[in-house]
Symmetry: C2
Subunit: 360 residues, 2 copies
């Protein structure tokens, strides 16, 4: 690492030991295997009895619905590859230090989610004219900021009516694992992870903006506690690289032999398709990488670039930009809760001749 941010406390370690990022070498998988996808669980994984579980859909509708899992699974199905990233990804690299889930860069993953589109269900319930937002409530409950609450987040009604918003019961073709929201979660492609509420128990249409803790206090971009701040919404562009070579166990510094080295990784944005990934070596010019076809219009895109590795220590950086003109900044943009730090990934490598000889 180039800078040494403030040390991590035992409380932050408690979060890091539960939640985990994608080990970056797992970027090689177009679809992230279960167990390698990033996880952020605010409270505890709730125990759910699928037989008695029901989804309540109500609020500003003409006909509230109560649905069991089999009823949901009997509806039209859709499977979609979607990249999810935690809004706090990159937080632990910010200065001044922000104390919360201490993410480095790996809070991301891509899975195929199977479920039923939300919009037809809302239409079946009859959307009242005054409905403006849709509130999703999970079975997970705890305290944050001194307030006991169920995890809840809302999205505007027009977002909820997008074709690709799903109520998902499967991940990569299998029932959701407990940690990903069994038996049902919402998938809102393009948005940061906090939106994809897990362990869904209720969906409520409301006639005024929702003011829950995770909406009004959490997930706001603000410089001080006195301002309301702007809400965190869609994922900013980011490219990540599979660190080349082999690691040192403790420092994770990379060791590799000189010669042609394939740098590869994946890039995504929640705003528009990725249309540029670039790599810089040792602060030199940004060179464009070759782009693969995206896995879906809501999933990451592979990239690759050949690098001629010469003996010595090197610093590799990668960055992405999307078709809407969003690009990764050179430096992190600090905010009070450490969201949306999409400064370029930095990978330090030591290129050595004697890698096979047993000592370095």
């Amino acid at each position: 690492m180039e800078t040494v941010p403030a040390a991590i406390t035992l409380e932050e370690l408690g979060l890091a030991a539960r939640n985990h990022g994608l080990p970056l070498e797992a970027l090689r998988h177009p679809l992230t295997p279960v167990g390698l996808h990033y996880l952020l669980i605010h409270f505890d994984i709730p125990a759910v009895d699928a037989a008695s579980w029901r989804l309540e859909l109500g609020g500003c509708v003409s006909q509230p619905l109560s649905l069991g899992l089999e009823q949901l699974r009997a509806r039209p199905q859709r499977t979609l590859a979607v990249t999810l990233e935690c809004a706090g990804n990159g937080r632990a690299l910010l200065e001044p230090h922000v104390a919360s889930q201490p993410w480095l860069t790996g809070a991301v993953g891509t899975a195929e989610w199977t479920g039923t589109p939300l919009a037809p269900l809302l239409e079946e319930a009859g959307i009242a004219d005054q409905a403006v937002e849709v509130v999703f409530t999970g079975l997970d409950r705890g305290a944050q900021g001194g307030i006991v609450h169920d995890y809840e987040r809302s999205i505007p009604l027009d977002e909820a009516l997008r074709d690709e918003v799903l109520l998902a019961w499967a991940l990569n073709g299998e029932p959701l694992p407990p940690q990903h929201g069994y038996p049902l979660r919402v998938i809102v492609p393009g948005w940061y992870g906090m939106t994809h509420v897990k362990w869904l128990r209720a969906i409520m249409l409301v006639d005024e903006p929702f003011h829950g803790y995770q909406q009004d206090v959490g997930y706001r971009l603000r410089q001080t506690e006195d301002e309301p701040g702007e809400p965190v919404t869609r994922m900013l562009p980011r490219a990540l690289m599979v660190p080349p070579g082999i690691p040192d166990f403790f420092t994770r510094t990379r060791l590799l032999q000189p010669g042609s080295c394939l740098l590869e990784g994946r890039a995504w944005s929640g705003w528009a398709p990725i249309d540029r990934v670039e790599v810089s070596v040792d602060g030199g010019p940004w060179r464009p990488a070759e782009l693969e076809e995206p896995l879906s219009s809501h999933a990451w895109r592979g990239w690759r670039l050949r690098w001629d590795a010469t003996v010595g220590e090197h610093v590799l950086r990668c960055r992405a930009a999307d078709a809407a003109g969003n690009a990764q900044p050179d430096e992190p943009s600090w905010n009070l809760d450490g969201y949306c730090n999409n400064a370029p990934q930095v990978v330090e490598v030591a290129v050595v001749d004697e890698l096979e000889q047993g000592t370095v």
Copy 2:
């Protein structure tokens, strides 16, 4: 937490963000779902092409074998529930601080492993009289202690010939996920996790004790770098509890309402069956918990105890002992690399009347 150990560095965070423990509420599952089982990956998860992959079995044998995955799968199969724990579990709670993978208490999991017993394969290869140990080599490679090496560990020949030592290709009925050793790993029930070498590429019988880094330097109980130390082998007894109530997001302190509260968890030992689990509240007497039948003779055992929670802050502790007389100590036993800290788990709870009212 009662004490505040030294802060965690960014390098340790790099390990904690990749590897992860069992979220303690997942102790409720007798078999740990994929993605919740603890993970410790020394180097990187290697990319493996199962079609070209072979296992080489050689060294002090009369007939070396080279086996593909289908040949292994055609052999006799056995499925066994086995609890695995990292030898470094509890390291981050030690003082003075030990800098390595910073485990709290959750570096454990139990899965059903399916594979073929190792002993008949060794016998088929013809064990030479001079063979004393069996060395397992993985495809994972990196540097540690300044030495580049493949991950390798040995066990004595008599351990390798135990009926329940398996070459496993499946976890909970599915092919091994990449992070658990795809396509093949060894399972040595009772031993700490470092023994269960993942991504196996070779098994070699040797005529003198193996002196690789992970055997001679890593995984030794020592007070100074100058002494060889005793090798880490089997899992010491440990009981863990599902933290009752609901958590505070950041501190993970537990909140619950007064009244009868079921405390439950699981306990294991690599030396002998668990025959006692006890719970102490606020430093009071140790009360025996009720024990469930173990899942198998190599897996953890469930336990439960009713506690009458009264308003106020409380400290819960649990501890286990096995039938061979091994018991958890009151205090951690410090060593240079932070192995085998099986001091009792401490869970802090705040019992409050107004848990439903929205603020605490």
